[in-house]
Amino acid sequence: MKVLVIALALLAGCASVAKLEGERTVGERMTITLDGAWNQVNAPGVGPADLWTLEGVPVDRLLIYAGVKDGQPVHTQTGGTQKHITFSSRMQPEQIVAMFEGMFTRDGSRFRLTRLEPSSFAGNGFRFEYALTRSADDLQLAGVGYAAVSNGELFALLYQAPRIEFFPRHRARVEAMARTVKLKD
């Protein structure tokens, strides 16, 4: 549903898209070097993550969390009367994955973790892979996520795209970009 809202916002002209290349600073502490050009989408319903895409929001999405603080929600107000899902600086990797799981399933989509492992992302982070069946259109997506907690703040990259064709096409670029992430103290 959120994807639909953003797509409609773009059509209605109340959203903007900016081309991004090279090294970028996201938030106050995170830098990332892009592999090729990406599109940054600014629209109602986007946030607190930065939303980037290669193919367009209905197809693929890269969510970048650059310093979510303790107690802050990780999504905008969607999911009707359901409670917000918030980040806690005490969360362990399994809890952070469960937090994103809750976020992705608020609209009835189905999430399945397929891998969780340590990673050097942002120094001392972790990496996970998942399958997501999107309730809005029954589409089968594949996703990869990187996350780390630094000075009590959450930094994460989550990329998802249709399991067939698009995810395999762009996965290597996203993984390469994740390796370039650096955090300022």
Partner: protein, 373 residues
């Protein structure tokens, strides 16, 4: 009108409705409307959605369970049975919907929550009540005036609309009068089919536990602004049941039917991240089935993920009882390991992580757990 006066007024309506319900008789089978009419257009739209639902990855394709639920619907609908098609949908919200073309959806969040066959019959009977009284058509004409067609489609639980208005939205889809009328008809259909109609009121009692556990109560829910509050519907259903007590519940048959799916549905429930609601639900289930390791494990997971106050200790206690009962999921030992790790008991954490990896060496998170050893 003040709240108390208003509730009193509504109670009067329901008592008046009781007499009507005794006299109520089902209409003849509904004929397919003219395709050029607004109702015909709605049927065509629902036909397309039903075709989509049949292919959907959210459809639960178990012919035995589907037949079981379809048979319950048929006992309630009697001569309308031939027009009803039950579809089971795997989504963790409490909902059943009935479209005007006879497509009925029953979501797994509902199947997880009901305690027996009679409670499921109450929800299905309520939806059949909407169908027989053609409430959907009234609603269509109403929303057309208000340009709220998207919201209207959500009433039928179209797959993409799941979860848009929360866990219990399905029970508040129509206006006050229609919901109350469907409650009365549902109760009557239950009694005619031999079910204990008191179970309809028990559903509301159970749901209120979850609503209250959220912490923001009814006041903050937009659903309650325009619909009979849960307590009011519970009281009305209780009065209807008292007029003709008795009947079957089929509790043990129900538990046997859902046992193969319990772990999967409980996993879906905990994944919602609505820990207060999940803990309330699971505490109620554990009260009824204290020796069921699945409910204990699921509640432990919800406490561990919430991790507030004494939650980790409570989670550990639940995990330990689940493990002592035997037949616990492998993830019970992962959970125990994570709790012990969080509270600084690395030796105990190691023991349980090793146990988890022995039971589930190919688990998706095995690389992460191995890094903790």
């Amino acid at each position: 009108m003040k709240r108390r006066q208003f509730l009193s007024f509504c109670s009067g309506c329901l008592f008046a409705g009781l007499a009507n319900a005794q006299e109520w008789s089902a209409p003849p089978r509904l004929a397919r409307p003219d395709v050029a009419s607004d109702e015909g257009g709605l049927w065509a739209l629902m036909d397309r959605e039903e075709a989509r639902l049949r292919r959907s990855p959210f459809a639960l394709r178990d012919p035995h369970l589907q037949r079981y639920v379809q048979d319950i619907a048929c006992r309630l609908a009697t001569e309308h049975c031939a027009d009803l098609r039950v579809h089971l949908v795997r989504t963790p919200f409490f909902n059943a919907t009935m479209a005007p073309n006879g497509m009925m959806q029953v979501w797994t969040g509902l199947l997880l929550r009901v305690d027996n066959e009679a409670q499921l019959a109450a929800v299905i009977g309520h939806e059949i009540g909407h169908y027989l009284q053609r409430h959907q058509l009234d609603r269509l004409r109403d929303v057309k005036k208000r340009s709220a067609f998207g919201q209207f489609l959500g009433m039928f639980g179209l797959v993409g609309m799941a979860g848009q208005v929360g866990l219990l939205a399905g029970m508040f889809a129509y206006g006050r009068e229609h919901e109350s009328e469907a409650d009365r008809i549902g109760s009557l259909l239950m009694r005619r089919a031999g079910y204990d109609a008191a179970e309809a009121a028990n559903i509301w009692e159970n749901l209120q536990l979850e609503l209250k556990a959220r912490g923001d109560g009814e006041q903050n829910s937009p659903l309650f602004a325009t619909h009979p509050p849960a307590e009011e519907r519970q009281a009305a259903l209780r009065r209807l049941a008292e007029a003709a007590p008795g009947g079957i519940t089929n509790a043990s048959a129900w538990q046997k039917r859902i046992a193969p799916y319990l772990r999967e549905w409980l996993g879906d429930e905990v994944k919602r991240g609505q820990h207060e609601e999940s803990i309330a639900l699971l505490t109620r289930k554990i009260g009824s089935y204290p020796a069921n390791a699945e409910y204990l494990h699921a509640r432990a997971e919800a406490y561990r993920l919430r991790a507030k106050g004494e939650d980790l200790q409570t989670a550990l206690a639940d995990y330990q009882v689940a493990a002592s009962l035997g037949g616990e999921p492998a993830e019970t030992h992962r959970g125990m390991g994570l709790v012990f790790r969080a509270i600084g008991d690395s030796a105990a954490a190691r023991t349980h992580f090793q146990r988890y990896l022995e039971k589930a060496p190919d688990a998706p998170d095995a690389p992460m757990i191995r890094s903790y050893l």
